[in-house]
Amino acid sequence: MGMTITEKILARAVGRESVAPGDLIMARVDFCLGNDITAPVAIDEFEKAGFEQVFDAARIALIPDHFTPCKDIKTAMLVKQMREFARRHEIEHYYDVGRVGVEHALLPEMGLVGPGDVVIGADSHTCTYGALGAFATGVGSTDLAGAMATGEVWFRVPASLRFVFEGELGPYVGGKDLILHTIGEIGVDGALYRAMEFTGPVIETLSMDNRQTMANMAIEAGAKNGIIAPDRITREYIEGRFRREPRYYESDADAAYEFEYRWRGEDIPLLVAKPHLPSNVARADELADTRIDQVVIGSCTNGRIEDLRAAAEVLRGQKVGRDVRCIVIPATQAIYQQAMDEGLVDVFLAAEAVFSVPTCGPCLGGHMGVLAEGERAVSTTNRNFVGRMGHVNSEVYLAGPYVAAASAIAGHVATPDQIQSRRAA
């Protein structure tokens, strides 16, 4: 019996010929990370347990991205604790304001994670790096503390689900629509404890930014990891970027999958997820009655350069609706610079959107765009749970960057085509 790419990476990490779903293993991690919410708890646990040294100061990233630039004294104290721990243990990859970016955009961009890696992060969206052909999964703070101390982490080897996307995508349809479609079909626990392997002609031509959007939201279906086998696009992305030796794995032809889903790209329209679950998926072009107060374009899901280009394409020469606040957040400093170089920032400012420093901020109702009671947002982020972006009686509609930008102009949930036809009329 063959193995899936997930099983092969885990077998390698535990030094075995093979592993099978259900096996409990202690695996070597190639890289681990935490942020300003989770790392302080990990540091407390690390120190409480009496560990004195980290396993490898070059394989740990501490990324204060959630509440930074620090929104209040409490968060400043959390980041200070991280900074001091990083100095004390000479953690190579600690990045402060001015260098920091949203962790799951920053690490791939810097070449700190890559194909064949086992990566754990004390952040649920660590699964993003599956786009590079890594096994990457979110864990808690205590897991991070254990990994920082020993370089190991326990896993139950997941069974794999295979998602085959055939055909081609329609205009404006991208990674966000593919993953929302998937979650809408299988539900928020449709891949519970499983590996989600994305493949097929649509994936083969999908850009690395869009692949990261897809893998990022595997957790919203309950998955342990999302993964895409490395190919030409992966190799081009990591060339001159990835700092270690890539290990390329792919699933065997006779690998076992618990289930296989097959969909056609042509059948997937522009989508949103309505409140209050990412599985509550609807067509974006049928929600013109849904008035909105705010749009957020950014995050570890859709804050990369292609997302900003998509938003700028729609916003160019347009104005954000007078009752809408549009907040655009590049995920990293490099993306910020690129957006300036390409003139995208001019487009956003001319459209009367605000262009922010990199931060997770509004995605989790942290800062930089918190919703009031009764307000509604369209957001390119990943969660629309009750109270996620602010007041318990606020609402979040999840969407890709094209729909978010079109909605900002229209003042209601809209697609780029609807904006254009309105312009023509």
């Binding site: 302080p40 708890v41 347990a49 209040d72 952040d123 979110g138 808690g140 957790i219 749970f385």
Partner: protein
């Protein structure tokens, strides 16, 4: 709680008894403890906001010794360990559900919050029932309804984690071997 989490493998006291609060499916970690409170990390502080967005009065209603019983996918969403920390901080002894989201499941074991998976228990137990759970045997007795249910047995490795008192004591002990 500290004594409980440090309990050795050979000590028999694995039985919990308490009053039940019931929850539906897909209880996410933002609901358990909203992100606006993640600037805190002390159990008592976090406990003051446990399940607040579902029921603002819950932090005052829940009492030490209570047990939470939920439907599918309890703890979905973010990886925040603040969720099990808040639950433990409120003195909740255990969580029983039809299924748990995977990161919450890990976090519970790693931090010593007892959890049990039982479809039958989650179907039958009503809010306010008194139940007794034997963690080692995985049996759950409903004292109010005079019924009993079976939970899924824990894998050997998970039992080792529990008896070591959580992940870090387990790793520390292994390091010293």
């Amino acid at each position: 709680m500290a004594e409980q989490s440090m309990r050795g493998a050979d000590e028999p006291q694995t039985t919990l008894e308490g009053r039940v609060w019931t929850f539906g499916r897909d209880v996410d970690t933002d609901l358990i403890i909203a992100a606006r409170y993640l600037t805190m990390k002390e159990p008592e502080e976090l406990a003051e906001h446990l399940m607040e967005d579902q029921d603002p009065e819950f932090p005052r209603k829940v009492q030490p010794g209570d047990i939470l019983v939920a439907q599918e996918n309890f703890g979905c969403g973010s990886s925040r360990e603040h969720a099990p920390i808040a639950i433990k901080g409120a003195g909740v002894q255990a969580v029983i559900a039809k299924s748990f989201a995977r990161i919450f499941y890990r976090n519970a074991f790693n931090t010593g919050l007892p959890i049990l998976v039982s479809v039958e228990a989650a179907d039958r137990i009503q809010e306010g029932d008194r139940i007794r759970a034997d963690l080692a045997a995985g049996t759950i007795e409903n004292l109010t309804r005079n019924e009993s249910y079976q939970a899924e047995p824990l894998p050997e490795f998970m039992r080792e984690l529990v008896s070591a008192g959580g992940l870090l004591p387990y790793l520390k002990a292994r390091e010293q071997r």
